[in-house]
Amino acid sequence: MAELRGVSKTYGAVAALDRVDLALAPGQLTALLGPNGAGKTTAVRLMLGTCRPSGGKVWLFGADPSTREARQRVGAMLQLGRVPETLTPREHLRLFRSYYEDPRPMDDLLAVTGISGIADRRFGHLSGGQRQRVLFAAALCGNPHLLFLDEPTVGLDIEARHLFWDAIRQLVSDGRSVLLTTHYLEEADALADRVVVLQRGHIVADGSPADIKQRVAGRQLRCITSVDPDRIRQLPAVQSVRTEGSALVILTSDAEGVARHLLSHDQRLSGLEITGIDLEQAFVELTGKPEGAAARA
């Protein structure tokens, strides 16, 4: 559907992408993760055709992404500073729908995104959540086969976020493809069929969430203990220790062994949990950057 083949993009001296290969398959939700500056936005822009690669080739539905034909089957929801506020959602959508050869019927579009009631209110009078939904509708208005969603749930409360997730899942089950970029790793975990991790212009991981987590071998042990973290780090089979509030989170390939060791040294140990690695942990391990922590702060 969409493909970056050996693509590089430099801005002056900085290489945002360095010989990246990435192909999107139909009927899949691909989450594109990476710290700031990893090249996520660049990759999306290249695939959308809004900028040209410095090297390599970009395909969109087998054609150059800057052509109108290619973009007919694409929809995008981008992070925008502001949207022209004096127009109503209906007016925005009417214009966007006109660009496409086979647009989604207006009433259907409004219903699916839940904005039928506010379709004729000026954009400037809408709440944050309502605005996001309008932008979502804009992405859907052309009945796209491939959707680019860039941080679609930023600023939404939990309930709205989960509603969005349901909508996205519905799209994927309809057979569309989605490329999702997000800071919320649990979002990627919840939605993605495939996770691609970018760091400094390179792909450092590419697979299902389970695969990613498995790349980082071992399990996660969580407890509240008085044992000095540095001493725990020195244990064999311990890959990393981090504090999370009053608890310690230990990444280890031998969770039971470490548990026994801790229990023997600290009778007062509590809150013991052993789980599989979550995506956040895997991410941290893979990129060396506590991305999730930054997002939560």
């Binding site: 801005y11 002056g12 945002a16 700031n36 500056g37 936005t41 660049t42 822009r45 959308l48 055709g49 809004t50 900028c51 040209r52 109108r68 034909e69 973009r71 007919q72 694409v74 995008a76 981008l78 992070q79 925008l80 500073g81 502001r82 949207v83 022209p84 004096t86 127009l87 007016e91 925005h92 009417r94 214009l95 966007f96 006109s98 660009y99 496409y100 000026r122 804009a138 052309g142 680019f148």
Partner: protein, 258 residues
């Protein structure tokens, strides 16, 4: 280039209408753009128009110059500021990711410039007839209006370039810094004949001067050069602006990333 299809024309039309709606609902933009030239005209041409017996001649002269002033302002601000702002917000990016016909958004903004220019000309014409006692044959009215509205095009091109060169916060200031001095030096406020000679010579290098002279020639008050010299200068100015816009656009493509 693909030939223009009917569907594309519909899209251009819808784009123009949407853009127009967007702008007209901003009284903070629409009113000053039409209001300033009208107020200046009433003040300088009608109320303070020099000797009473000159009345209609001053009002006729300034109809041409303030008409040019208003049209230039509508084009520079309509294009320049809105483009700079929408660029920074990412809005333009979103529209470009959609399968809109090439340059649909340019057509839309140009339509807005033309509509506002026509509105300014219409308001000034009414003021001129009612309060300035301007009387001219119908053909002259038609030609004056046509020349003034057509002037929106070169200055829209320049606005396009400025919109790409400026950031959203600096755009209004930069455009004002170019617009107001250029208007004054081109003899759009005070008739060019009243400026000292070195300013008169400087004015000939400014596109606003040539635009005003074309309008003045229609009412018989031009300084005497052949009309094609003005048209040629404005055409050159348009090409130059387009080149500037293209360059700024390409540079802009690389500016933001992350």
């Amino acid at each position: 280039m693909r030939p223009l299809s009917v569907r594309d024309l519909r899209i251009y039309g819808l784009e123009s209408r949407t853009e127009l709606l967007k702008v007209m609902r901003l009284p903070a933009y629409a009113l000053p753009t039409i209001g300033f030239p009208a107020v200046f005209y009433l003040l300088f041409a009608v109320a303070l128009g020099g000797r009473p017996q000159d009345g209609a001649k001053v009002a006729t002269y300034m109809l041409a110059t303030y008409g040019a002033f208003g049209v230039i302002g509508a084009s520079l601000f309509g294009f320049g500021v809105s483009l700079a702002v929408e660029r920074a917000q990412g809005w333009l990016l979103l529209k470009r990711s959609m399968p809109a016909p090439t340059g649909a958004w340019i057509v839309g903004k140009t339509a807005v410039s033309l509509v506002f220019s026509a509105a300014i000309v219409a308001v000034l014409v009414v003021l001129g007839v009612l309060f300035g006692h301007v009387r001219m044959p119908l053909g002259t009215w038609a030609r004056l209006s046509a020349v003034l509205v057509a002037g929106a095009l070169p200055f829209s091109a320049f606005g396009l370039a400025l919109g790409y060169l400026c950031g959203p916060n600096s755009a209004p200031a930069v455009i004002n810094l170019i617009y107001l001095p250029m208007a004054f030096l081109s003899g759009l406020w005070v008739p060019i004949e009243m400026l000292p000679t070195f300013m008169k010579n400087l004015a000939v290098c400014l596109p606003a001067y040539h635009f005003a002279q074309l309008a003045l020639q229609v009412v018989g008050a031009g300084r005497g050069g052949p009309a094609w010299s003005h048209v040629l200068t404005l055409a050159g100015f348009t090409l130059f602006s387009v080149a500037l816009a293209l360059g700024a656009f390409r540079r802009d493509e690389g500016a933001t990333f992350g």
